[in-house]
């Protein structure tokens, strides 16, 4: 069902944990929909110098969180803002169709953390849940 890369990131997730003095924190999801993801970023000179996450969710949710942290670490805020969920899925050599919404979750959590760092207010909605197509 999952690619080797997904399983690798699931088994050995990178950058798990919290950053106590984070510059930005983003949280998406809720326990009802079965996924919650929290991301912490540390920013210096407009570059994401450190990033950590915590995830309650399925194998895909853990793997997408992990790869997202790997992709954006060392990137500028602007570069990180351009990260799309399809890129996240591609980096993992694809996700099963019913798990594609999990890639939104990771990208959403990151954007929220960036918005929090930039001081931009955003709505506290579980966007990835609404994005799930019927029957998934």
């Amino acid at each position: 069902m999952y690619s080797d890369k997904v399983m690798d990131h699931f088994q050995n997730p990178r950058n798990v944990g919290e950053i106590k003095d984070a510059d930005g924190v983003g949280e998406v999801g809720n326990p009802t929909c079965g996924d919650i993801m929290k991301m912490y970023i540390k920013v210096k000179d407009d570059v994401i110098t450190d990033i950590k996450f915590k995830t309650f969710g399925c194998g895909a949710a853990v793997a997408t969180s992990s790869i997202t942290t790997e992709i954006v670490k060392g990137k500028t805020i602007k570069e990180a803002q351009e990260l799309t969920n399809s890129q996240v899925a591609e980096e993992l050599d694809g996700l099963p169709p019913e798990k594609m919404h999990c890639s939104n979750l990771a990208a959403d959590a990151l954007q929220k953390a960036i918005n929090n760092y930039l001081g931009i207010e955003d709505d506290d909605v579980c966007t990835h849940c609404e994005d799930i197509p019927e029957g998934h």
């Binding site: 399983m7 699931f10 088994q11 326990p31 079965g34 309650f56 969710g57 853990v62």
Partner: protein, 390 residues
């Protein structure tokens, strides 16, 4: 790597005795049971012997009340659609429960949508029990069929079928029970349960897949939904699956041997597993009835972690289990059974079902009790909601 199979409610391995019994029926005893010549007649005799064995196992008076089907799903479909279509001049109302297997729920939904039947889906209590009084209250002049499962496949709760059967006995309403998880695991007797129809499946008790049976009490008005030849007294067209039937017969024989003794031993292992999990992991709840449950069923919710990632991690340790998490159901919602028991979504997402079987050993239970807490710790360390609780 060590492999521990604890998903026996999904399916069981075919017993070697069953495999041996089937083998000749794939080769030299290949005849069509409906043929007139000796190839057919010899096979027919064996098929009828199996029918008697199945009848004996479930306490049916006459082996002609047993119809072979392709499995539990077909037996459920035959019972429900066959009875309500035949009896719709008497009414259009069906009573079932919210925790039935999809092989019962989906035929009911189909009958509602395409054939204008009304269906009442009874609620259950927090242990997953249907209240017989609720059944009685739901009955209307239009009610023609009640279908309540004998034991639930997810949480193992055993329903008060005999009590419901007793209440329905003097009424002109047919009573079906899906006994797929129960037959082979606990004693089942159609007269004690007072059911008119019952479904069973061989692969749940070490028989082959693709074969099951439907008990249909003499006098039950029912129509077939497989049309073709006159096999199974015209109730189920299709050339008899002889190797499957022979396999079912052997599996029945094996299941009937010392059933109560085996039940005791498996219950002991089940209870060891339940108490071991509770002792070694905090914030765990047992789903399903604490005592009125299948001897082989353990279903727990482990808070702050999600079922699919739990299953994947256990699989990496060689342990096969299942979960009612949304991520494993292919839908957005967790198990309909857990939700019907009023278990909140977030706790249902962390459910884990471990089902023991004929070949489960104490050593395997010990292995699970060693590995499961480690896996839970690993996942909780990663969980943002576990922190919140601290």
């Amino acid at each position: 790597m060590k492999k521990v199979y604890l998903d026996n409610a999904a399916t069981t391995p075919v017993a070697s005795e069953v495999k041996e019994a089937i083998e000749p029926y794939l080769t030299k005893k290949f005849g069509n049971a409906s043929s007139v010549h000796s190839f057919g007649r010899d096979v027919r005799k064996e098929v009828e012997l199996v029918r008697e064995k199945v009848a004996d196992l479930i306490g049916a008076d006459d082996s002609q009340e047993v119809i072979f089907t392709s499995g539990g799903t077909e037996a459920d479909n035959l019972s429900i659609k066959g009875v309500v279509m035949k009896n719709r001049d008497k009414g259009n109302h069906i009573i079932t429960s919210a925790i039935e297997h999809h092989a019962v729920l989906h035929p009911c939904e189909y009958l509602e949508e395409y054939h204008d039947f009304d269906v009442t889906y009874l609620p259950v209590d927090e242990d997953g029990l249907v209240d017989p009084d609720d059944v009685a209250e739901a009955i209307t002049d239009e009610t023609i069929l009640v279908s309540i499962m004998l034991a639930n496949n997810e949480v193992g709760t055993i329903q008060p079928i005999a009590e419901i059967g007793e209440m329905l006995e003097d009424k002109d309403i047919y009573f079906h029970t899906d006994a797929v998880q129960a037959v082979g695991s606990i004693p089942v007797d159609v007269d004690e349960l007072k059911v008119d129809l019952l479904s069973l499946s061989a692969h749940k008790f070490n028989g082959p897949k693709g074969i099951g049976a439907c008990y249909i009490r003499k006098g039950t008005k029912i129509i077939p939904f497989m049309h073709g030849g006159a096999q199974e007294r015209g109730l189920r067209a299709s050339t008899e699956n002889v190797p499957g039937i022979i396999g079912l017969g052997k599996a029945v024989e094996l299941a009937a041997e010392n059933l109560e003794e085996k039940q005791k031993e498996i219950t002991r292992l089940r209870d060891k597993l339940i108490s071991g999990i509770k002792d070694n992991i905090d914030e765990v709840t047992l789903n399903g009835h604490p005592t009125n449950r299948l001897p082989n069923n353990v279903n727990v919710s482990i808070r702050y972690i999600e079922g699919e990632s739990l299953l994947l991690n256990l699989d990496l340790e060689g342990i096969a289990a299942s979960s009612g998490s949304a991520c494993t159901s292919g839908s957005l919602d967790p198990s309909h059974v857990l939700l019907a028991m009023d278990i909140p979504h977030e706790i249902a997402h962390g459910s884990l079902r471990l089902t023991l079987g004929k070949y489960t050993t104490e050593e395997e239970i010990d292995y699970v009790l060693e590995k499961l807490p480690e896996v839970v710790d690993r996942l909780r360390a990663m969980s943002p909601i576990y922190n919140k609780a601290e």
